[in-house]
Symmetry: C2
């Protein structure tokens, strides 16, 4: 392993690429001396954007097929990729056909060992498919889950799986619990993080067939701190550190967070701007309310890692700004420094699977 953490950034991915991706990369470089970043995308566009951002140093450009070693002194390089995968493209077909896209090229760098991590604000589907097919799963891992941090009143929980594997089996959910525990423990510095399974009631006999099958497996699983079922209504209060669920459910939870939060803010704003009196009141409460409601701002939390792959994959929001891109890249350094991937590999290879 390199002494640096090398991040391949899909510089063309997301609604705000390449300006926010390039700015986020530069901010991350300033934020951590241990980082090297590979901007993957269209050379012209990236050069123009680097100039706009006031970056004057020379940036080496590599062809993606270039076999040479990347570990030079340059902390920032460009790797060419001519194609784009759009958000709405069917992911499997896109990954198969667009071999010169920024997503495929960036993932290949991880696969070839030229980068330690991949970050993208582009197509979630393509990232998930590419993660499993190009980078590949660690031996013993059934499914590689997407595991974002979500804000709670107590701090943060991780929601695992959140979109990578619909219709997963109970054995995969048990692996999610293990991977999530390792990730949470390292990232949040908490010994024995609590693990719960998302359910529609608190009792063991509640749930659908998948949850009923998974519950006793989690209860009897060594090495995790299983506390039982978590009802969705208790998730925002911070009922458990690691919330295990099947991807369809996880995706619904994540999107409800976003949707209800957004709707509540709309209605709050309406209330605050109703008339002159409320507008004066709004001036007095604005900063304090903003500060408190910030916990619902997902951009504070970097991106969602996809766990269990032979390299780190971090997916951030399509609407990510430079701040989110930066946080997602910095997250890779932490992940790598703490050798979370290695720990997951050892746990699942030596585990009860």
């Amino acid at each position: 392993m390199s002494e640096f953490v090398r991040v391949a950034l899909d510089a063309m991915g997301g609604d705000n690429a390449p300006h926010e991706t390039v700015q986020g990369a530069l901010d991350a470089l300033n934020g951590s001396p241990a980082l090297r970043i590979i901007l993957v995308g269209q050379e012209d566009a990236l050069r123009r954007q680097l100039k706009k951002c006031g970056y004057t140093e020379d940036v080496p450009v590599k062809e993606s097929e270039d076999g040479s070693d990347w570990d030079e002194n340059a902390r920032l390089i460009i790797v060419k990729a001519s194609e784009l995968i759009e958000m709405a493209e069917p992911p499997v077909a896109a990954i198969m056909s667009k071999r010169d896209s920024s997503i495929v090229r960036a993932m290949q760098l991880v696969r070839q060992g030229k980068a330690d991590a991949y970050v993208s604000a582009g197509s979630t589907g393509a990232t998930l498919v590419g993660g499993q097919t190009i980078i590949g799963r660690v031996k013993g891992v059934e499914r590689a889950p997407l595991a974002p941090f979500i804000p709670t009143e107590k701090g943060t929980s991780i929601l695992i799986d959140c979109g990578a594997n619909v219709d997963a089996r109970s054995s995969a959910l048990v692996q999610f619990a293990k991977m999530g525990s390792i990730y949470y423990k390292n990232a949040m510095h908490k010994e024995k993080p609590t693990v719960a399974i998302v359910n529609i009631g608190a009792e063991e006999e509640k749930g659908n067939a998948l949850v009923k099958e998974t519950f006793p497996l989690l209860r009897d699983c060594p090495g995790i701190n299983f506390i039982g079922s978590a009802e969705a209504r208790d998730i925002p209060a911070g009922v458990a550190d690691v919330l295990v669920c099947e991807a369809f459910t996880g995706n619904v939870i994540l999107k409800m967070y976003e949707g209800v939060g957004r709707a509540a803010l709309h209605m709050l704003k309406k209330g605050l701007t109703k008339n002159l009196i409320t507008k004066i009141g709004a001036l007095l409460v604005k900063n304090s309310v903003k500060e408190n409601l910030k916990v619902f701002d997902m951009s504070e939390y970097g991106g969602a890692p996809m766990l269990g792959l032979k390299g780190l994959v971090v997916k951030t929001h399509g609407s990510a700004t430079a701040k989110e891109i930066k946080n997602s890249i910095l997250q890779c350094a932490t992940f790598q420094e703490l050798a979370i991937g290695k720990q997951i590999e050892e746990s699942l290879a030596g585990g009860s699977n």
Copy 2:
């Protein structure tokens, strides 16, 4: 059918029974002259509560086995039930063993044609099990879904199914779409309400196996206004009138509404009471903010009907107050007057099933 709407109220059910249930019943009687209410529960407790509420008229008491006709002049009667089903009891066992519970007795009244509707704030599980086993499904109905109204920025949507039938099949989901459309059309006075299936992406190829199987069936289903997939993030904005989903998903959505709303209010309150300045500001904005955030107050929306049964079943929150009990009872009158049950029966019997 009686010219009155006769509601059997589980007067012992819910966290606040019997004081809120009895008060809610009295308020409902005042609210609609077309109502007759049967309070089902422990005679002593109910009599005491009626007295506390200042109700001085004579209330006839019947044994539950009494075969006589209930259609007397009294608008309020008591039917005795000695047992209680607790919230946490396993529902199937409770329904089987506690035959003299208020839930079982009240449901029997509907089954025997002595009441048109059943209302309870008690155990959801027991109500769902009792609805299917004691009252029974209308011929042709595969599963009887729970279909609450949920608040949106545009008004309300119904979420169907929300807890009655985990692991339902695609054919049941198509029936949910039909039942939900009829219910929404009548209750909200809207021709051709829009129908969407809850999904993890907007495109037809997205989703788990159940959604992928159901999508084309809904697209090709006559008599409903299907508009495609609804992502959870768009639900609070009011993306469709009728939201079709499997019960596990529906339950998670409903509980996330509650949980995120509650957490946002906590954080808002914290922000408003931070210091003297924010407290002054809070006084100026309080009423307007309250008015606007009221859309997230579930108690405004009565209870959730269970559709497709041989009689109306309405389940309201365990923490229901007199206001919610009243709204749930009044809802029964509307349901009955509009013959929603009859329309559902005709639609499913004559439909494509």
